[in-house]
Symmetry: C2
């Protein structure tokens, strides 16, 4: 059997490696239009922030290592044509046949249409070259004032990293609050305070109407003021990289993401897809959602590889768990936000509480905030968000576990035996207190 994988990102290389581990006799070819494979793109903001020097560390594994395990990789190779019916691709004028095809083309940065944006050298941060280019320019002393467009994960992480190398960082965000699709208002507000306390200039409920190049500076004309910056980074989200499939038999969703089933299979029997180019199942609603996260990609990759290798395997969906470090704090979330739940007409109860990370007598006691969202009809926890200092946030793993397992909220779960000792927790953890309140 010959498997061709389009895209050498985390998903594509994950599928390739796992197929080879399952059955070394399966031929695996990866076609990648870039000059590298297996980029750990999540590390890009930290590379720009000089947390490490060697950009090669961004790659999970080298092309040579993949080749050694029998994976054929074509770099710098764009698909010129795809012939789904006859199971073949045209790459560099050459025909490549496949028995099974895996589409793992990922996502590309969404570039908003802003007047004058094409006249300035703006930056983005999804590819390896983006990281190299952005780091090279921010290392210049004359680059001091940096404007980031978009307050999502990349925007926030990049803001912190640029601040850490002493840049003056501004974020402009169309929405009235930070990451409003990811967090509810309480947590967006905590993040806003955090960023402001760390001297990130926030322009919420705002947007750039026009960029004007003036001498060596860029003038960003916001809705209410002009700001003069040295550099602009666009971090306005992603969109699935699926242009190649737009007029094919392949079923796409409204946002052009590839639709796959629980087995990673598209509407065409011998074509699979995973990662940032496709929609996934939300485990809570069973609806499709677009959630380009590395955690999802890695799990889908395993499922796809298993099914191709005749090992029955199912992808159980995502609760869109995420965690982010923002200076000394951590923010975690999973499941639905209150807003999402309301939009779906789910009968909910919510609690939002503030407590402490550990005992009062030890140094470093600090605030934790926890929001829980319960589906009153099913009596299940369907969403949660936590904000705390960065060393306390991993307790959220417990909450993600409760949501994942659709645990019923009752006295038994309120008594969950979480480990306690003075440097880590209190006898009643904030999780106990919040569960107690949402149950009653």
């Amino acid at each position: 059997m010959k498997v061709v994988i389009i895209g050498g990102g985390a998903t594509g290389m994950g599928v390739a490696s796992k197929i080879k581990r399952n059955n070394n006799n399966i031929e695996v070819t990866v076609i990648e239009n870039g000059s590298y494979v297996s980029l750990g793109a999540c590390g890009l903001p930290y590379y720009v922030g000089d947390e490490f020097k060697d950009s090669k560390k961004l790659f999970a594994r080298s092309v040579e290592k993949f080749n050694e395990s029998g994976i054929e990789i074509h770099l710098n190779s764009s698909i010129e044509k795809i012939d789904i019916k006859n199971k073949k691709l045209i790459v560099k004028n050459k025909e490549i046949n496949f028995d099974k095809l895996v589409i793992a083309t990922g996502a590309e940065a969404f570039i908003p249409s802003i007047k004058g944006l094409d006249t300035i050298d703006f930056y983005k941060l999804t590819k390896y070259e983006d990281g190299i280019n952005l780091k090279a320019i921010v290392e210049k002393k004359e680059i001091n004032n940096i404007l980031i467009i978009g307050a999502g994960f990349i925007g926030m992480e990049l803001a912190e990293n640029l601040k850490n190398i002493n840049k003056n960082v501004s974020i402009v965000e169309l929405d009235s609050r930070i990451a409003s699709k990811i967090y509810d208002e309480e947590v967006s507000d905590l993040i806003k305070n955090n960023l402001e306390q760390n001297q990130i200039n926030l322009f919420l409920n705002n947007s750039v109407k026009e960029f004007i190049k003036k001498d060596n500076k860029i003038i960003a004309k916001l809705m209410d003021r002009d700001i003069k910056v040295d550099l602009v980074v666009v971090a306005s989200g992603f969109r699935p990289n699926t242009r190649l499939f737009e007029n094919t038999e392949l079923k796409l969703s409204a946002n052009n993401a590839i639709i796959v089933d629980d087995y990673g299979k598209t509407n065409i029997d011998y074509i699979y897809s995973g990662g940032d180019c496709c929609v996934i199942k939300n485990k809570i609603t069973n609806n499709h959602c677009y959630s380009p996260l590395a955690t999802v990609a890695s799990k889908q990759a395993k499922v796809i590889a298993n099914n191709i290798s005749n090992i029955n395997s199912k992808f159980y969906g995502s609760i869109q768990s995420s965690i982010i470090k923002l200076f000394d704090s951590g923010v975690a979330r999973a499941g639905l936000t209150e807003k999402e739940a309301k939009d779906l007409n789910i009968n909910i109860k919510t609690v939002f509480i503030k407590d402490k990370n550990h005992t009062h007598y030890l140094d470093g006691q600090s605030d934790i905030y926890l929001k829980l969202i319960k589906n009153v009809d099913t009596n299940e926890l369907i969403g949660a968000q936590m904000y705390s200092n960065k060393n306390s946030i991993l307790r959220f793993y417990s909450i993600a576990t409760l949501i994942w397992n659709k645990t019923k909220l009752n006295e038994e779960i309120e008594q969950i035996d979480l480990p306690y000792s003075p440097p880590f927790s209190r006898t009643f953890d904030i999780i106990h207190i919040a569960l107690s309140k949402i149950i009653s």
Copy 2:
């Protein structure tokens, strides 16, 4: 209704406060033989280690505050006689009647019988005065070499705290490994390495045959050598403080702990007991076990108070979750050890793996060790132990949650959507890897 509570520790005061919050009309009297109530005893090692100066911080709440909420407290009051049948106690020659009695007498330090121990001024660490006395003496410059008897939680925490104030600390432990009832060999060994790397002198598989006082020093005659120390601390575990009830109608277990049911009730209808003086139900085996932990006490207190206040409430048991900080590391555990499971003839599968806390490109990447124990017949996780750096250990909350919920081990749980970002984790967390291995 009049409720009398014997013992003003965490359990007793927890019951008292919760009853008053439930129903202010219930009369609540606490009889405490010491001079204080609501000691947070878990803080004692940290007080001795000078992590904080004000010993009053060890008390959760003052006597006055409890009085304000309508709780009557008799300090320095020993029970001279108990007349269970007629529902009365004799305290300081006065009769006190009750409708319901709550026994929360806690535990006392177990003092091993060692020749010469009575001739030296040895210390222990369970009461407030113990902490005051021990801190006063270790603050003396001439007190440098300290021997701790017992490598349990208190012994280990105290060793770290004494090391932090520059003492030369030795631990002698009868067992061949650290805390063998709490951890399996792999984790005991990791702790042993940790303590040794932090210059704690360990004498395992050893014991003191005799103490001899010589000038201002104490000679501890171990099985294989003599060591000269300035101070001895006994941390050989606890035993339930139940002497008062030894020859009464109250049912006690083999180790003299009070036997209670799921509602905190003893064999006598109007007498309840909770905390370190009683046995609890192990949630995995359903057997009674003696597990004096603050987490258990606080949950039992709530259950007892609710049942006394006519709010139906059940204690669901313990999985003996614990966590401990040891210098820069953390150790957590829950459920059964491999040894316990084998002794119970449970058909088990175990995995023990080593992985990393977070991405390799960020500073601070370090090892995590995780052991999982599965009941093969029920396909449930019944035990786990984790060792990592202290800022990574809280991910164990997820494992405790899986054990608590008796989650079935299958592909769905292997895909648990735990949050990821580079400073906290990897796309496949050690939890995913371990689950994957124990499932297959």
